[in-house]
Amino acid sequence: MTDEREPDDLESVEVLEVAAPPRDLVEAVTAALSRRVSVPCRIRSVPEAFQIPHIPGRNQADADRLLSAVEALGPPVGHVLVALTAEDIGHPIFTHFFGRARHHGSAAVVSVARLDPTFYGLPEDRNRTVLRTVLEIVHEMGHLAGIGHCDDWSCIMRFASTVDAIDNRGQRFCPACAAALPPGFAPSHAPCPPDPEP
């Protein structure tokens, strides 16, 4: 956990490109995200010296160490940094994650790898990938706002460890979780799925 932030101080979200997810995907996700939150969303490039920590013996980035590295980039108070990576992320004791964030933290990590239908041998579906990625980012931002997992299937804060669960849980915060959100997180009425890419 980094600095403790008050729930009313979210000013912007920066989407950090890590390990080269397709640029058009990052743009589509950032555009869709900006319609979901009421603060500006921008794309930010990763510093050249940035190293992705990996789990020995596994073709995966270490989600927790990656999260610490992103937090170390020091987003200023009121700004959230979301590292979006094409690499599969895991943990020495967990097989995989879709995303990681600490409660009241300043940064989140989201992997596109397992959100993409092609990972499961299915045909490419860009809209679905964008939608899942945006929903996962919003879920992790919920943790940054200090909200834990919710039992309500209609709530975006419900725990999901499969893409089916991500697809089936709600796309918005339930009233109880929404009440705990800071103003910058105010639920928008963005269309779901997001607008098709140009």
């Binding site: 943990h91 004791i93 967990f94 909200i147 997992h149 919710c150 039992d151 804060m157 109880a176």
Partner: protein, 461 residues
């Protein structure tokens, strides 16, 4: 957190010598709303569990000094209500099977699939809720279960109480001996009620009441079409007693042929229905009873010696009431209270003379006769006191009683005298006499024939 109050919070202990597992798993479970502690060794885990108590322990199988399986074995004794999930780095079926056999709820292989772990925790949670509910219901059932009280403070009855207490929790076969009316069935019920089988049926078979062919079918059941009139298959008493106790009353009355079958069933714990070909496994405990001298019957060759030894594992010999007269007042008060409740009469008691008469009489029919005499006194007497005159004449006529016992030199004679007297009292109404004697009509007919009792001429109907 917002809606986490909806799901129950578990107290979880993570036991692993690897720091990263303790920290990561602890954090992951806390995020899910649980109260989590961690321990880096099995010894520390034992201390923490003893001090704090947990709902669930996630235990790594491979740890220095004491491994997860040994910790699990120790916890089985120290914290039997703790649910355990074993964590292993290797998908070793042998280890997993060993852990499950030791009573672990489940096991999970590292690295954990978050989905699998989440489901496992949820299932363990549900399992624990059911286990807690089960314990609560058992306690409720225990509290509401009727207690079997065998009345009597004499040294002989104290020995019987002790014997019942020590034999009941075991699965040992018990042979209850005693004259008619001494309470053999009550002793059998107390043994069943004190055993782990008490939540399953106690099936009573009055062996003397059934003809040979019927007894076989009653005990072992029959298949459809096994005999004329067997239109349906029928579960025998042994099958009905599955998981519980079968009480074979008057076992001395069974025929040699059924004795052979019975011995086989007791040995094999399998029954074959009459007309059936497939043996059925049955789990039962046997309590047998008789008022006959089985040793003499073995010598005479009318009771199989091997069957006798099979049922005579623990013998409980209930002395007749005349040998423990100090129990009469307590028994009499007990019966009076019970009869008053059933007849809705409040606060009745014995006059000193009535109690003296009860204490003087020899009670050849034992506690059953005492109960019948008191019942009759309550019906015919006027509340609130049972007077001497309310008791049956044969009880108050001490000379007659003493005379009867003096004339009756053997147990057989006493029984014959008693049956004869009850028959006379009931004007040879067999149903009524059988009811007073608390035996079935078949048994009574059998005894009338055996003792050569004859109805005096002049009686009608």
């Amino acid at each position: 957190m917002t809606t986490e109050a909806k799901k129950p919070v578990l107290r979880i202990l993570v036991v692993d010598d690897e720091l990263i597992v303790r920290e990561s798993l602890g954090a992951w479970l806390r995020e899910d709303g649980h109260n989590v502690d961690v321990a880096e060794s099995a010894r520390k885990a034992l201390r923490m569990i003893a001090q704090n108590g947990y709902d669930l322990a996630l235990i790594d199988i491979k740890m220095p000094t004491m491994d997860g399986l040994e910790l699990q074995t120790r916890l089985a004794e120290a914290a039997s209500d703790l649910s355990i999930i074993i964590m292993t780095a290797y998908a070793s079926v042998d280890t997993a099977v060993k852990a499950l056999k030791n009573g672990a709820y489940d096991y999970i292989v590292k690295p954990f699939d978050p989905d699998e772990l989440s489901h496992l925790i949820r299932r363990a949670q549900e399992h624990r809720s059911l286990a807690v509910e089960n314990v609560r219901l058992k306690k409720t059932l225990e509290a509401s279960a009727p207690r079997i009280r065998i009345v009597g403070d004499s040294p002989a009855m104290h020995r019987i109480h002790e014997l019942i207490a020590s034999v009941a929790p075991t699965d040992a076969t018990v042979l209850v001996l005693g004259e008619s009316g001494t309470g053999k069935e009550l002793v059998a019920a107390a043994i069943h009620a004190g055993s782990p089988r008490r939540y399953n049926p106690m099936v009573i078979v009055h062996c003397g009441a059934l003809a040979e062919g019927v007894l076989e079918s009653e005990l072992f059941g029959h298949e459809k079409g096994a005999s004329t009139g067997a239109s349906y298959h029928h579960k025998g008493k042994f099958e009905q007693a599955d998981g519980g106790t079968i009480f074979l009353d008057e076992i001395g009355e069974i025929s040699p042929q059924v004795q052979v079958e019975l011995l086989r069933v007791l040995d094999e714990k399998r029954v074959s229905r009459v007309g059936g070909t497939k043996p059925i496994d049955v789990d039962f405990r046997v309590v047998a009873a008789t008022n006959r001298d089985l040793v003499a019957m073995v010598k005479e060759g009318t009771f199989r010696e091997d069957l006798f030894y099979r049922i005579n594992v623990v013998a409980i010999d209930i002395p007749p009431l005349r040998d423990r007269p100090e129990d009469v007042p307590q028994l009499a008060e007990h019966f009076l209270r019970r009869i008053c409740v059933s007849m809705n009469r409040k606060g009745m008691s014995f006059s000193d003379e009535a109690m003296e008469a009860l204490k003087t009489y020899a009670w050849p029919g034992n506690a059953r006769e005492l109960q019948n005499a008191i019942e009759r006194a309550v019906v015919t007497g006027r509340p609130p006191t049972v007077e001497k005159k309310d008791l049956p004449r044969y009880v108050t006529d001490v000379d007659a009683s003493v005379g009867a016992v003096a004339r009756a030199r053997s147990l057989k004679d006493v029984e014959a005298e008693h049956i004869h007297r009850i028959l006379e009292e009931s004007e040879w109404n067999i149903s009524r006499a059988a009811s007073i004697l608390e035996v079935d009509r078949g048994t009574l007919y059998h005894k009338i024939k055996r003792y050569g009792l004859e109805r005096p001429s002049g009686h009608d109907g």
